[in-house]
């Protein structure tokens, strides 16, 4: 292993150890009465052991909501972006509202969603969908309309059909933009599912997700378990982002400048 590579593993590990040490130090310096405010790292691990089954089930439920919402947002936003990019008229008409909807705090609609489709997975999926949808739609549309003018002219010169132009030029050219949107959506999906579950979750059926667990643990003053819940959501987010980054690397690394290697 080369020295820079070794350092890039060693330094983050050291920083992590330092962080836990500071955490522990603050904890022991707190007076007995306030220690409940900051559980020790060992207590969080103990909470994982104590509430393991519960947390695992909640994590799976949240994962289901996050995944369904994320994937449906990808499918619908991509279709909509294609439509928007095909017709300047449609784009001019609807694009401002797309931007406006992006500013809308989706969570405000959670109570109404519960009335419409009932609490639980359906509501959580829809909330995640709405949160993921806009960054995806905005970025993908931007990508589809930003095709290099000269390349479009080249395709016209070789008498490419409109279908060929979309499939072989506009979509590949939009991929870097699409992945930018996908990265944003991947960080939002687990948080969206958790917040959705917090406001529209349900203990019925398979039981709630991590958001629902948050309500229960805070009402029972199980603070170490709250930290464990946060860690579980963190891990879920990490898996989402890592998945998208890998997909992005697989698709783009050979040709896109953002993956330029120094040795070329």
């Amino acid at each position: 292993m080369t020295r820079p590579k070794l350092l890039s593993f060693l330094l983050p590990a050291l920083a992590g150890a330092l962080f836990i040490a500071i955490w522990h130090f603050i904890r022991v310096s707190l007076s007995e009465d306030f220690r409940f405010l900051l559980p020790a790292p060992t207590e969080v691990i103990a909470a994982f052991r104590e509430h393991g089954d519960e947390l695992w089930r909640a994590t799976l439920n949240t994962t289901a909501g996050a995944t369904l919402g994320f994937l449906s947002a990808v499918a619908v936003s991509f279709t909509l972006s294609l439509l928007l990019s095909l017709s300047p008229l449609v784009r001019v008409t609807f694009y401002p509202y797309l931007m406006l909807l992006q500013m809308t705090p989706i969570i405000v609609f959670a109570p109404i969603l519960v009335l419409w489709v009932g609490p639980g997975l359906k509501s959580v999926t829809i909330i995640t969908f709405l949160i993921c949808f806009f960054p995806l739609a905005v970025n993908t549309t931007q990508g589809l309309v930003s095709t290099d003018r000269n390349l479009v002219e080249l395709f016209r010169l070789y008498r490419a059909t409109k279908f060929q132009e979309i499939l072989r030029l506009r979509i590949p050219a939009a991929l870097p933009y699409f992945f930018t949107g996908l990265r944003i959506a991947a960080t939002l999906a687990p948080i969206g599912a958790l917040v959705g579950d917090y406001t529209a979750g349900s203990s019925a059926g398979d039981g709630g997700g991590l958001g629902f667990q948050t309500i229960i643990y805070s009402s029972q003053a199980k603070y170490p378990a709250l930290f464990a819940t946060a860690a579980a959501c963190c891990a879920l987010g990490f898996i989402f982002v890592a998945g998208v980054l890998s997909l992005s690397w697989l698709t783009l690394h050979k040709w896109h400048d953002s993956y330029e290697r120094a040795d070329i």
Binding site: D148, L151, E153, L157, Y158, R168, D257
Partner: protein, 279 residues
């Protein structure tokens, strides 16, 4: 709008393209190209040179069919005696513009395709079967000396190499007419000279008719057998200079006193046109 493009088999067999009093304007805008008449003989290498705004790039777009003629006629004569790369299928019955290729100012390569895939693009878009396609791409790459780079992506190439790929892509359809819009303008002088020599070497094998837009007098004299000096506002044919330096031209041509005389002559004519433009 009368967009007259005729394919005229009865025209002189040696004529490739003929402009008859061609006028071009965009909408109600100013006249870009005025009463432009020119007859290009098969195998001609015509350099178009002139101040900016003289309509030389517009002229290429008209020939390419990217933009319609406003008035006048643009006549193509078809010929079955096309110049084909080895293994090429025989000329199709499609219109004259299928035998035409365009090299842009920029390499305009698709960054997500390899060099070979970029060169294959015009064939792919026409749904060419894999059998002649592979051979055609290989031959086109060999012509520009990029066979070892076939599987590279554009970002791994230098500016000169990218331009070579662009030229290979233009040649893969075995065009009879080649339109080049300042293809080497962004390259350093050494690379440009080298690519000029390569272009002429390819021309020895495939005798297309070329229209070459440039700002460099030296490049025009080195490449062309006819130089069209244009004036601006509106774009008109100002003077035609015929370059009687024998082909094949080599680096030695650049040391020929006749070459230098021509460069001087064209430069002076160009300066007089540019002075006119600034008055």
């Amino acid at each position: 709008m009368s967009f007259t493009v005729t394919t005229n088999p009865s025209a002189s067999a040696s004529t490739a393209v003929e402009f008859r009093s061609v006028e071009k304007r965009y909408g109600q805008g100013p006249v870009i190209l005025d009463a432009f008449s020119l007859s290009a003989t098969r195998g001609d290498f015509i350099a178009l040179i002139g101040p900016s705004g003289c309509g030389k790039s517009t002229l290429l777009k008209l020939v390419a069919g990217l933009s319609p003629v406003t008035r006048g006629e643009l006549i193509f004569s078809t010929s079955s005696a096309g110049n084909h790369l080895t293994n090429a299928p025989s000329s199709t019955s499609a219109s004259a513009r299928d035998d035409l290729a365009y090299v842009f100012q920029e390499p305009t390569l698709l960054p997500w395709l390899t060099v070979a895939q970029n060169v294959a693009l015009p064939l792919d878009l026409r749904g060419a079967p894999a059998n002649p396609r592979t051979a055609l791409v290989r031959d086109a790459l060999a012509l520009v000396g990029l066979t070892p780079r076939a599987d590279y992506y554009p970002r791994q190439l230098s500016g000169g190499q990218k331009m070579r790929v662009s030229i290979a892509r233009a040649l893969v359809l075995s065009p009879q007419i080649l339109l080049l819009d300042e293809p080497f303008g962004a390259l350093d002088e050494m690379t440009r000279d080298h690519l000029n020599e390569e272009l002429l070497a390819i021309r020895e094998r495939l005798r297309w008719t070329a229209f070459f837009v440039t700002h460099s007098v030296a490049e025009a004299v080195f490449l062309a057998n006819r130089i069209i000096i244009m004036s601006a506002n509106p774009g008109r044919l100002h003077r035609e200079i015929s370059v009687d330096l024998p082909y094949p031209r080599t680096p030695a041509t650049r040391r020929d006193p006749a070459y230098h005389r021509l460069v001087d002559e064209v430069s002076q004519l160009l300066r007089s046109v540019e002075d006119l433009a600034t008055v």
